[in-house]
């Protein structure tokens, strides 16, 4: 399958995403440049982590206006699978493709660690091969990953089965003590109503090799092509 991996100036995990798709999962990965509206016929798109445009204004707020994003938005609205990880999730929220927003971690500090997340729905393009309630071990690394949304949005997310991942403890319980950043209802990732756009703060692309700590992240990608 042909994947597009967007590079904004300041993207950091774009090369890691390409490596994950090509070298680990045997997919075709095409770099997409932020100034270029041409999607080169890709069948799925990854918005990687990093600090696009330095994230100096607000995470993802500038990237959302880059030329490539107008094509990504059209692709997503047409039902194409789009996965935003970390900064990519922030960009998806800023661009209105996903509801809610990401604000500074409750601790006000950057956090890098491995966490457990529970798969809350399998109806998205990126969780189709997971089992409902399955726990995945994935790393997080962010300073602004505290998911927030107003009451109406949260209700809609629940009603439409749009909450994709929650932070949980090792027993699989979404307790406050298992919440690394203060996200409302322990939400780690959400989908659009169509289930083709998914954003999450954890980094599945960094959890695809046992040598580097685990392979649970593979399922998000294999859900799309396998």
């Amino acid at each position: 399958m042909k994947w597009g991996v967007v590079t904004f100036p300041g993207s950091n995990d774009d090369r890691d995403s390409v490596y994950c798709l090509e070298r680990v999962l045997g997919q075709e990965a095409v770099p997409l440049w932020h100034k270029d509206q041409d999607l080169h016929g890709v069948e799925a798109i990854v918005l990687p982590g990093g600090f696009s445009y330095g994230d100096y204004l607000r995470c993802g707020a500038v990237a959302r206006f880059s030329p490539v994003m107008s094509s990504v938005m059209a692709f997503a609205r047409a039902g194409g699978p789009v996965l935003g990880m970390c900064n990519g999730f922030q960009i998806l929220c800023e661009s209105g493709l996903l509801p809610g927003a990401l604000v500074r971690n409750r601790s006000l500090a950057f956090i890098c660690e491995w966490v457990s997340v529970r798969v809350e729905t399998t109806r998205t393009r990126f969780t189709a091969r997971c089992a409902a309630g399955e726990c995945l071990s994935l790393p997080i690394k962010h300073g602004e990953g505290c998911y927030v949304a107003d009451e109406a949005t949260l209700k809609a997310l629940q009603d439409n089965d749009q909450v994709v991942f929650r932070y949980v403890n090792r027993a699989g319980e979404a307790l406050e003590s298992a919440n690394p950043n203060g996200a409302v209802q322990n939400i780690a990732g959400v989908a659009n109503t169509g289930g083709n756009v998914v954003g999450l703060m954890p980094h599945p692309e960094h959890a695809v090799e046992a040598l580097l700590g685990g392979e649970d992240g593979r399922k998000l990608f294999t859900s799309v092509f396998a």
Partner: protein, 741 residues
Amino acid sequence: MASIPVDLQLAHDHGLSTDEYERIVRTLERTPTFEELGVFSVMWSEHCSYKSSRRFLRRLPTTGPAILQGPGENAGIVDIGDGLAAVFKIESHNHPSFIEPYHGAATGVGGILRDVFTMGARPVASLNSLRFGAMTHPRTAQLVKGVVGGIGGYGNSVGVPTVGGEVYFNAGYNGNILVNAFTLGIAPTDRIFRATAAGVGNPVIYVGSRTGRDGIHGASLLASREFDDKSEELRPAVQVGDPFTENILIEACLSLMRQDLIIGIQDMGAAGLTSSSVEMADRGKAGIVLDLDTIPTREAGIPPYELLLSESQERMLIVAKEGCEEAVQDVFATWDLQAVVIGEVTDDGLFRTTWRGEEVVRIPVAALTSQAPAYERPAARPADLTAQQRLDLGALPLPTDYAAVLTTLLTTPNLASKEWVYRQYDFLVGGNTVVRPGSDAAIIRLKASDKGLGISVDCNSRYCALDPYRGAAIAVAESARNLAVSGARPVALSDCLNFGNPEKPEVMWQFVQAIDGMRAACEALEVAVVSGNVSFYNETDGQAIPPTPTVAMVGIMDAVTHHVTQWFKHPGDLIVLLGETHEELGASEYLAAIHHQECGRPPRLDLEREKLLQQVCLRAAQAGLFSSAHDVAEGGLAVALAEACISHPQQTLGARVTLTGDLRPDALLFGESQSRAVVSVRPANWERLKALLRTSGLPFSVLGEVRGTDLEIVGSMKIATAALRQQWQTALAQQLLTVAT
């Protein structure tokens, strides 16, 4: 604009001595211009010229079959096989970080990254070595938060993982913290770039951020002088970093280097445009002329003096091949960075700059580099050292509760878990981190081969204060040991030599002793020094820091899958001590934390024994015989055993061990005898490991086995490891928060 008249007083204000000023006048055969005085003052500063250290640094071994580049370039280079080279260096950013901790530390990270990617290497791992004052000192908590925030803020954003390091606290750093930053990059061996200017008429190109009025005299007035009560006024000499620009500068430069367009490239670091252009001209045995009116600036009207000395960050100087200017500019334009031709290479051996049509600087390059002053300063052993080295063990009472001692040790800021620090660093980006922070050495894999690299940063400055020769030798030995127990063969190191004022004979003596100790250990362990820096003048109000020769060592493992971590893995594994314990409590963490004494001599170091230990560890690791292996360091055997039980990222295990020997029990438990490792081994592997140990002649003793949920040292203590882990993990954050309120 009338030029500012120069006289001896102005030279003194620039940190130049009367002799040095007279030497300038003799060299030029005239009074220097104001701009020239500025250029001399930075180039002849201790920071840039190494005038007190140069002749001693030559004593260090700097060559070896795998060494492609030793000291003298932006970074050292080691051939790691498969057509790849490891490019690395450690550098200090001490003074700025004390004045302005966040930006001081952040720009320290930025500077060392540029030193590495300027050679054509993609940075793949950063580490750091941090020293703060006593936890109870009123500024410590704020400095820790600022420095850690700055390292994370810059390193995370720039996209290079921070994979390890060390953090120590000692009252000796109350007035001068240390921030030493290390970066390693990987380059193809056939595509390495050096900082040289050659080829008459070749264009000199400025790339990156615009020049502002920040960081003026960072190298001379900030880094080459002691602090006093007016040091706060130096804040404007601290630069402000922009990791986003650095991030795209890395990509643009690496993309530039894939084409055949340039002769040389160098970061504009300390002393900015001046040092970068002068050093490049020196290496190319050429001259250089710059038109200061063409320099991109943040504001109009910056005088030439400041254009020459600004230390604005994220700037690079390139000497391109003639006719390639446009191609170079195209590469940078892709990343929305500017590249401007500001001068050219000449053959007159002069550093010349013009401003508004006038020549404001005309200095022979050699006068600023090879012919800069070099001193052999007097050295004298500190008069009170003998008294400090005295330790009367007979007068030292034995503790009554060894479990309480162990808990106290594991919750001192020096031995407590550093998780609060490293979880603020992205240690994953790049997708190469095999062993994350929290084990003896960081291990990264190389995507282009099966190999891995180990990296460890070490120095026990209490040892160095009480015996700089032995302390520096131990720093080298411990760094190598950390690599060997992790399965990596030590190859080369970069050093960051942090000392007080070299004009004081006692400081100079410490420095020379440390160099000689490092040399002895490097020669015995066959490790070369390939890069580094010297940071003198770490003093406040006449009080120098403990001598701190930090060692950052790199090792190679042929198969990264053979890496070893420090934590126990399986109940039922045998626990074995490699090496021997002697009655050595001098300079120990136990003596400091429990008896509040920092005295005695550091433990002995037998370099032959050390080498044997490391060879045995490497062979066992390669044969897959270790479940875990952990260097025995600060806190001794009891702390090493406890760490092996509680430092696993996911689980906590127990152990039951018996320690034998007729030593004092506290020496047996907490003494810091060198050349030891605690290893665990599956029973099925024990016969093979035993045979290997017997053949090697290395002393060893079977201590017990991994089991249960308690750490039991028979006859001394039995302590629940889950609770111990909790205390060890949270101690640092708790102390930082308590002090802050």
